[in-house]
């Protein structure tokens, strides 16, 4: 196993001349202790336009600095994750997840580690890296995709949404970063013509380019669609969404019945708040550092871990939500968590996740089968 870890690091250092942080060195995302390696600057792409300038993506591409300045956002009610006691209860008996997966062990120790290293580890994990991915056989595929035509309405929609993605971060308002997002999204639309573009996918593109070069981010998205189940969340009539609402509702009903009754008696359905959770895998509801840690786990455990995260959030905030009415619950589930500083401690969320995961996953499978069976029944009628 040690050999494997060494191998991962060797691969990373070969792919990218990035500083390697040992698993035990915690590095702050907001102010990296180590200077970001100075890489040859790549030509600046002009503002995204429907006729896009194609720049040959290179591995030496400079990844946007993760030093994020936050612009003021409207005030929302500040919430605290339960009382100290309830927090203690929620995290009690939560031994750190003992993973047998070496890459996951690395990530568990990375905390908010250097994002380019994390990006490379994610690529390896998703088997989306160069050399690993069957889909990447043609070296020039990405460049070719950028030259392909996509329908005007899709291109226009992508463009409209660029500045409306992560508006709280100045980083994503830069023309250079937006050009990359545009390229990735239009290439995805060209690669999957039947899927095209769904509002929300921009968050994924934006998030990924803080961690990896543009072309890698594209292939990562391809793998999310192809191998991670996002096809049914982003494509067609979004068939996975109603199913995820059903599963989440059933999970809450069986795991947190008091909260379930509180919400349903106030006519708050899963569909009232959970669409962005699923479509952006929590990105649009959380800060970047928070989301990075969530994604570490979700990518390694599989998409269904999203349900564990949702249940962990419900568990941590159950008491708080039980004292709230319709408006406050919805405001909280939609907005409050996004506010940096008002978010729960992500490690605390992950500790609750590791405690409840086995039970949640068993139930997810059960409710998934139930949903499919009832769908069959409806079809037969």
């Amino acid at each position: 196993m040690t050999d494997f870890i060494t191998d991962v690091f060797t691969k990373i250092s070969r792919i990218k001349k990035a500083p390697i942080f040992l698993p035990s060195s915690p590095v702050s995302v907001v102010s990296p202790r180590e200077p970001v390696p100075t890489l040859p600057p790549r030509p600046v792409i002009s503002a995204p336009e429907p006729t896009v300038e194609v720049s040959a993506p290179k591995m030496e591409e400079k990844i946007p600095s993760i030093v994020l300045r936050k612009v003021p956002t409207p005030k929302v009610r500040v919430l605290h994750p339960g009382t100290p006691k309830s927090r203690e209860r929620a995290t009690k008996r939560s031994a750190p997840a003992q993973s047998t997966d070496p890459i996951q062990q690395i990530l568990e120790n990375l905390k908010c580690g250097h994002s380019t290293v994390r990006g490379q580890i994610w690529l390896l994990r998703m088997k989306a890296s160069r050399g690993q991915s069957q889909l990447r056989e043609d070296e020039r595929r990405y460049e070719k995709l950028l030259l392909e035509d996509i329908p005007d309405d899709i291109s226009e929609q992508i463009q409209k949404d660029l500045s409306r993605t992560y508006p709280q971060y100045e980083l994503f308002q830069s023309k250079e970063v937006q050009a990359k997002m545009f390229n990735i999204l239009r290439a995805v639309a060209a690669f999957f013509p039947s899927l095209g573009y769904l509002q929300g996918m921009g968050y994924v593109a934006a998030f990924l380019i803080t961690m990896m070069p543009e072309e890698d981010a594209f292939w990562f998205m391809v793998h999310l669609i192809h191998n991670f189940g996002m096809e049914d969340f982003w494509g067609g009539s979004l068939p996975a969404l109603p199913k995820s609402f059903y599963i989440l509702e059933k999970l809450m009903q069986s795991g947190l019945p008091a909260l379930y009754n509180h919400l349903t008696s106030r006519d708050i359905q899963t569909s009232s708040y959970a669409t962005p959770w699923m479509v952006t895998i929590f990105l649009s509801n959380h800060s970047l550092p928070f989301a990075m840690r969530l994604w570490d786990m979700i990518l390694f455990m599989g998409f269904k871990y999203v349900y564990t995260v949702a249940m962990a959030i419900f568990t941590l905030y159950e008491r708080e939500m039980l004292s709230m009415g319709f408006d406050d619950i919805l405001s909280f589930l939609q907005f409050s968590m996004k506010e940096i500083g008002h978010e729960p401690d992500v490690e605390e969320v992950l500790r609750v996740c590791s405690r409840i995961n086995d039970r949640v996953q068993t139930n997810v499978d059960r409710f998934d089968r139930q949903y499919e069976a009832s769908k069959e029944e409806r079809r037969a009628l």
Binding site: P74, R164, P167, L198, L238, D267, A274, G325, D327, Q334
Partner: protein, 206 residues
């Protein structure tokens, strides 16, 4: 603050229309009195609320469901307009497609929505007269043919935004009284007090 102690009549209102016409901007201008040109694209739907006081002191609380404009989210829309007592269908006066899309929403509401729903047909972005593609008369005549009320707004300058909601509010209680007579108090759509009385610091308008 004193006004909030009284019980408000709560109504569900849904915003519909093509992507980028300014649905969220209208809601944010009404709820927070702000305009931000770079609002997040709405994924699925988002919720806001705001209370208005009618001249007769009646408090009307709007539970506003702001829906995603992209056609691909269309399959979710019924979840939000079902049971809504009011709907605002928005188009962008500088965009012909958005006007056609708004008409489709009106048709869908007429077929699928609550028959008593109060519908406002709204042309937004009047702060851009030089780019105007839809004349007020065109919106006006479509609205009157379909029994809707018509108004042009600017979420940017706030022009007519509170008027829009006040106009809806004025139409609501009378409909509500009619409903109470015909269907009794068990009407599932209306849930006065569902939002729980405000505790003074609640709500998202800070």
């Amino acid at each position: 603050m004193a006004g909030q102690m009284r019980k408000a009549l709560t109504y569900k209102l849904v915003l519909l229309g093509d992507a980028g016409v300014g649905k969220t901007a209208i809601a944010v201008q009404f709820v927070k009195g702000q305009f931000n040109p770079f609002l997040e694209s709405t994924i699925g739907a988002s919720f806001m609320n705001q209370t208005v006081t009618l001249p007769d002191e009646t408090l009307i609380k709007f539970q506003i469901w702001d829906t995603a404009g992209q056609e691909r989210f269309h399959s979710l829309a019924p979840m939000y307009y079902r049971g809504a007592q009011a709907a605002i269908v928005v188009y962008d006066i500088t965009n012909r497609n958005s006007f056609e899309k708004a008409k489709e929403w009106i048709k869908e509401l007429q077929q699928q929505g609550d028959p008593n729903v109060v519908v406002a047909f709204v042309g937004n972005k009047v702060d851009m007269p030089e780019a105007r593609k839809i004349q007020p008369s065109e919106g006006e005549s479509y609205a009157s043919e379909n029994g809707l009320f018509f108004i042009e707004t600017s979420a940017k300058t706030a022009e007519n935004v509170s008027e829009l909601f006040m106009k809806i509010a004025k139409q609501l209680p009378s409909i509500q009284r009619q409903k109470d007579i015909t269907s009794g108090p068990s009407n599932p759509g209306v849930k006065p007090g569902v939002g729980a009385p405000s505790k003074g610091k609640g709500g998202c308008c800070g």
